[in-house]
């Protein structure tokens, strides 16, 4: 079983595909769950404390807005433990405020910079594209399993 980072990190389709083909999807839910289940001082809405931007300094420089660093405190450890990644290019619903947009760019940069196997895709918009989309993911994940055995 290989840990596969999914981008968009909240993607239902990617999360399901990765789990369905026998690997572990790594997405934002894992980082959020860890914080939600940690006792401490309440910091709604996400139980993110003022400490997070400091932790985020590991992945983004101090000049980078604290919103990006706070987000990277969630995503950074997840990216570091990932052994592969699947990225959907230009995912329409992954837009957001400037903090989200810059974090998204940084996530994709960090994944590519790590040198792990990355599969680039686009959301399907027809049956033919759907068949190719699933086949590409199936082949990519099967390849990872073989690499893991070698």
């Amino acid at each position: 079983m290989v840990k596969v980072f999914i981008y968009p990190a909240t993607s239902l389709i990617l999360s399901d595909m990765v789990a369905r083909f026998g690997h572990e999807p790594i997405g934002s839910a894992l980082g959020i769950r860890e914080r939600i289940q940690t006792p401490g001082f309440e910091s709604p809405p996400l139980q993110i404390t003022p400490e997070e931007p400091k932790k985020g300094l590991k992945w983004a420089a101090v000049e980078v807005p604290s919103g990006v660093r706070g987000r990277m405190a969630i995503y950074g450890p997840l990216i570091e433990q990932s052994e592969a990644a699947i990225i959907i290019r230009e995912a329409e619903f992954a837009f957001g405020c400037m903090g989200c947009a810059r974090t998204n760019e940084l996530i994709q940069f960090s994944l590519r910079h790590r040198g792990i196997p990355v599969l680039d895709l686009e959301y399907p918009s027809s049956d033919e594209e759907g068949i190719a989309f699933v086949a590409a993911i199936r082949e990519f994940l099967a390849g990872l399993a073989k690499e893991g055995q070698a």
Binding site: L12, G40, Y123, S125, I131
Partner: protein, 146 residues
């Protein structure tokens, strides 16, 4: 800031989405209750959320998938069900994250076709047609060709 005591520590929560011609979310929930054991189930309009110990949830998910493998989709959720920081009842309006679900559920039918297709390599896909450029359209209109 108030002291925070988390609920459901050590559990996992998963969304189960269904878009099937054979099974409604209600049917799925009923079948899930029959095999749920100690897993907590919350029915939703799109399927359900299941919360429990990781191995119990995994077992339940594996059995649920068998009902209609290419039309049932599962993903992790960070918050437990009914969490006041995310629950629609407390916030008003659509729950944060709803737009993402709505967008992806629109693509699910293509994914289902992909899952049902035989697993034989990655087929070539015809290129997407580019939308008509506005300048080109203006030229066509101004040309006034019969």
């Amino acid at each position: 800031m108030a002291e925070y005591t988390p609920a459901y520590v050590g559990t996992v929560t998963k969304y189960v989405f269904i878009e099937s011609p054979h099974l409604t979310p209600k049917d799925l929930a009923l079948r899930a209750y029959e095999i749920s054991g100690g897993v907590m189930i919350k029915e939703t309009c799109f399927g359900m959320q299941v919360t429990g110990k990781p191995d119990e949830v995994e077992t339940l998910i594996a059995r649920i998938r068998e009902f209609d493998p290419s039309h049932i989709y599962v993903k992790d959720r960070g918050f437990p069900p009914g969490d006041e920081r995310r629950c629609r009842a407390n916030l008003g309006g659509a729950r944060p994250g709803y737009l993402g679900h709505e967008f992806e559920m629109g693509r699910i039918r293509y994914i289902a076709r992909g899952l049902e297709a035989p697993a034989t390599g990655v087929p070539a896909v015809p290129e997407r047609r580019e939308p008509l450029d506005a300048r080109k359209l203006k030229e066509l209109m101004e040309a006034e060709e019969p």
